[in-house]
Symmetry: C2
Subunit: 568 residues, 2 copies
């Protein structure tokens, strides 16, 4: 029996743990810098790969990430499983019904968003193949087809995530972008599938399907998955829920189906991810898939398999020696031009305002994960060389980075105002000494004055005056004394907990155990309301209020605010 | 680069999907027969392995589960990851604090539950090594040590699951058994770790630690994990919750830690699972690990990795050719004798009743998963031969099967009475025609009479008389007309949904949209109350009642009742 030795197991586990930890750390750093998490995950892989670790500690790099042997094979197996599962989850996020609802606009944006980048990419690859570093291992047409496709595909998961972050996901605007991206993705992957099929056909002796057959089987499989199989899944799920243990039965069914789909598309000569994605679409579309099951699969896969895959991208390529600034600039320029103009005009054509049209263009421009998966496969199949791979990754990251801020600017939206952004460790008082509302307000205002340039007398007077006008006890043990202060440029918040409770005149007669002092700029009318609404939402559950009273440190408070599920 | 070919990927995915589906199906069949799920999962592997599939279709078996090459290595890698993650989850279920609370009894049961089976096993292995099929590849002492340990370890996950199924988990009795099992497991695994260390030392040139050092490092590592590392994790979790994305940050942290722990114990010469288990104990003990995170990890791992591992057990051994009835009977007999008598006397010694003491003995006797993992490792390391492996698996399954029923009989408990057990497809009326309570009761009683030997006039009169005494509208759109009928041997339930609503005189004035007619035996006082309580629990949430009104088929109703989280 071929088995892993103890040494192999140590290396395999240490390598996975290292990728996971590094990807998470740099993912978090990216998030802090208001960038997509995937950016940080890929950067972590670049650090662990030949670019950095491989050049400063080649032996450690070879020990953890060998290119040959049982450990290399097991890592490739995990990576392959990771992409398949990630695409399953990406497919589950697709809402097919939305595509029909936003019909015309989505179709127009989707089509133009493919047509223009595709034309530009194909033209550039035929006119300047040397600039783009075309390889001789595939025909110039195949290379041009691939390059055109790589510029045309959007990154549905990144787009969906960005829209959610901006609270635009459930809006008409958001649904249009998502519908267009779904359409875009399906067509783009189909084209790519055909290219891969063509290459497999030219190279491998394993599959002997002519291109027409591959195309027909692929289209037939996709159509079947989105109609009959989708219907069958919808019918089968209640049966599984009724007769198998929950949620074990459904999760096992979902994964087995995804792997079977992946194996099938791999078998017909296109890549495994395609089948997993289509299974995801068909599964995610069923109303019988319980929210809890969806969450379990999505959370586990995006916590473990997504970082594992994206963290592995940088492990094989040296991003410094293969960095070609001219190539990167050129690819980025035509990618942005094609996508933003194409989608923008597609949207404008259906009578949307210019401003919204450009916002859609920038939204669709995000390439993120998908382009990188495409590039990884193209590199593996010898369609492109390392410098082009680096340029594609660079383009994917750059377009994803500009997507959110540009949409935000064009639509004049802003991120939700949450209290956690304005609470600091020194304005959290875990045990209030005060026994009445005047002294509670004073105590919290003191903590604010001690950690900022605010004048203690001025703010405490303002809050107390407002408090005397109407008591700010809002019931359920909460009080929110507040004031708008001239000359502030941002909100200031102090939080105090009182075990004994302080009477803030709440209509339910209960003493306040959690007291927020909220100061907002006098000129800003909405922020105060948003902060009060956020407090209301966070503490709406009695269980949440009970947990809040047990908080003993600032870190615990922050952990509480960040993980308490609010009715967002 | 060593990479999987397209062909490898197809085989790998098809194999995983096959194991998953087969393990799930036979797991469900086992559950239907009121047996532990793990039994069915192992049986599925036996069917797919050399025992059945390998002898009827050797080529298909070699295609899916080859013993050599990249596919065999990748399957071994998945299997290794699966055991590690399963042990992480098993560790997370351990409640350390319980061990101290149930202190004396748990210690007495735990110690006696190790001492007697250990002594019996060691004695038997020294006196009759040939009967037990001792191998010459290890010393007789090592073989005896292993056999003694294999008889001494309980299966914490199986025990916990059985107690939960019987609603005994949170009772004093349940906690005592769990505490004893935890103690038992920790000591048992430590002994096994030492044995493995000894063998690695004797065989491999990789690790040169003398046994004393292995023991010291193992004990030190365990102590460190359960004290300092446990404290550190408890301190670190709020920080991760506060500063990393949720739940991605925590899940990534948990898995990375588990793999690091696994790698460390593998490195010091004992098996990877030991480190993953200790990380699980340390992690699970922290109150900062959110329930939702715990659920996500547990559900995913037990849906995917547990069936994958247990379904793989049968893949390498032929259970028919290696089945030795004398050996199986002998191993089972001394295993049961040692454990039941040891634990029983241990419990009785601390003044528990004989009945409870024997119940504890049978509870602790369940070997399930743990013994099988132990056996797998022993086989891999050459400590035992196939017939002994088969005997250990047989013993593990047999002891697990008798555990639940024997505890139930000794403690005179019964499984919770849930409505789903008494609803049948033809007593579910998705659209009630009735507009008043009399006709609603009649309509549902008709469906009951039509599908059983019940007399329509008799039951409808009884229910209507009871209804006239006090209306059975219990508010929130629910009504529960019911009666106790002479001569019934089991409850009968009919369910009707009414979109318009039927007035059942509820105190909240709301019409009933969901109507249950409940008939119970006249002699049985408690069942009626239990069924009414179950209905109350199931529909306590407004969202659940809304979903219930949309049910259109019996399968959907059953799916609803089985997956709706009740406040159990």
């Amino acid at each position: 029996m071929d088995k892993l030795t103890g040494d192999d197991i140590v290396r395999m586990f240490v390598a996975i743990a290292t990728i996971l930890v590094a990807a998470r750390i740099f993912g978090e750093i990216a998030r802090r810098l208001a960038q997509p998490v995937v950016l940080g995950e890929i950067f972590a892989g670049i650090l662990l790969g030949p670019t950095v670790l491989g050049s400063i500690a080649p032996e450690l790099h070879q020990f953890l990430f060998p290119s040959k042997g049982a450990v290399a094979l097991s890592q490739d197996a995990f990576k392959t499983l990771a992409i398949a599962l990630f695409l399953l989850v990406a497919g589950m996020e697709v809402e097919l019904s939305v595509m029909w609802k936003q019909g015309r606009t989505a179709l127009s944006v989707g089509l133009m968003g493919i047509a223009l980048p595709f034309a530009l990419g194909f033209g550039a690859a035929r006119l300047a193949p040397d600039l783009l570093g075309a390889t001789s291992s595939v025909s110039p047409e195949t290379f041009a087809l691939f390059f055109a496709t790589a510029l045309s595909i959007s990154a549905l998961p990144v787009i969906a995530k960005t829209l959610m972050d901006l609270h635009l996901y459930k809006s008409d605007f958001g649904m249009t972008v998502i519908a267009a991206a779904v359409f875009n993705d399906l067509v783009g992957w189909l084209i790519f599938a055909v290219i891969l099929g063509q290459i497999e056909y030219a190279h491998g002796p394993t599959h002997h399907m002519p291109i027409g057959v591959t195309l027909a089987v692929t289209a037939g499989f996709a159509a079947l998955m989105l109609t009959a199989v989708r219907w069958l899944i919808h019918r089968t799920l209640p049966w599984i829920l009724a007769h198998a243990s929950f949620p074990t039965g459904v999760i096992g069914f979902a994964l087995a189906l995804a792997l079977a789909g992946a194996a099938f598309t791999e078998f017909i000569g296109i890549h495994a991810i395609f089948g997993a994605f289509l299974v995801g679409v068909a599964l995610g579309d069923s109303a019988h898939l319980r929210e809890r099951t969806r969450t379990t699969i999505t959370e586990f896969v995006s916590s473990i398999f997504a970082p594992l895959f994206f963290g592995s991208i940088g492990l094989s390529v040296n991003f410094i020696t293969n960095f070609d600034p001219v190539l990167c600039g050129f690819v980025l320029a035509i990618a942005c031009l094609g996508k933003i103009v194409g989608c923008g005009f597609g949207a404008r054509w259906t009578k949307l305002s210019w401003r919204e049209s450009w916002a859609i263009g920038f939204g669709m421009n995000a390439r993120g994960a998908m382009e990188i998966i495409l590039g990884t496969l193209a590199l593996q199949y010898g369609i492109i060389r390392e410098p082009m791979f680096v340029a594609l990754v660079f383009m994917a990251l750059a377009t994803s980075m500009m997507s959110g801020p540009m949409m935000q600017r064009l639509l004049r939206t802003k991120r939700a105002t949450r209290i956690e952004r304005f609470i600091h460790s020194r304005t959290f008082v875990p045990r209030l000494r005060a026994i009445d509302r005047k002294s509670a307000i004073d105590e919290l205002c003191q903590s604010l004055a001690a950690t900022s340039r605010l004048d203690y007398a001025r703010i405490s007077t303002a809050v107390w005056e407002r408090e005397q006008a109407t008591p700010t006890g809002i019931g359920n043990g909460l009080a929110v004394p507040h004031a708008r202060i001239d000359g502030l440029t941002q909100p200031f918040i102090a939080v105090g907990l009182s075990e004994a409770g302080v009477d803030f005149g709440a209509t339910d007669g209960k003493a306040a155990h959690i007291v927020f002092v909220i100061l907002t700029p006098a000129s800003d009318h909405s922020t105060q309301l948003e902060l009060l609404a956020d407090i209301g939402r966070t503490f709406v559950q009695a269980a949440a209020r009970e947990r809040a009273l047990k908080l003993r440190s600032f870190t615990e408070l922050l952990a509480f605010l960040r993980t308490e599920p609010t009715a967002a």
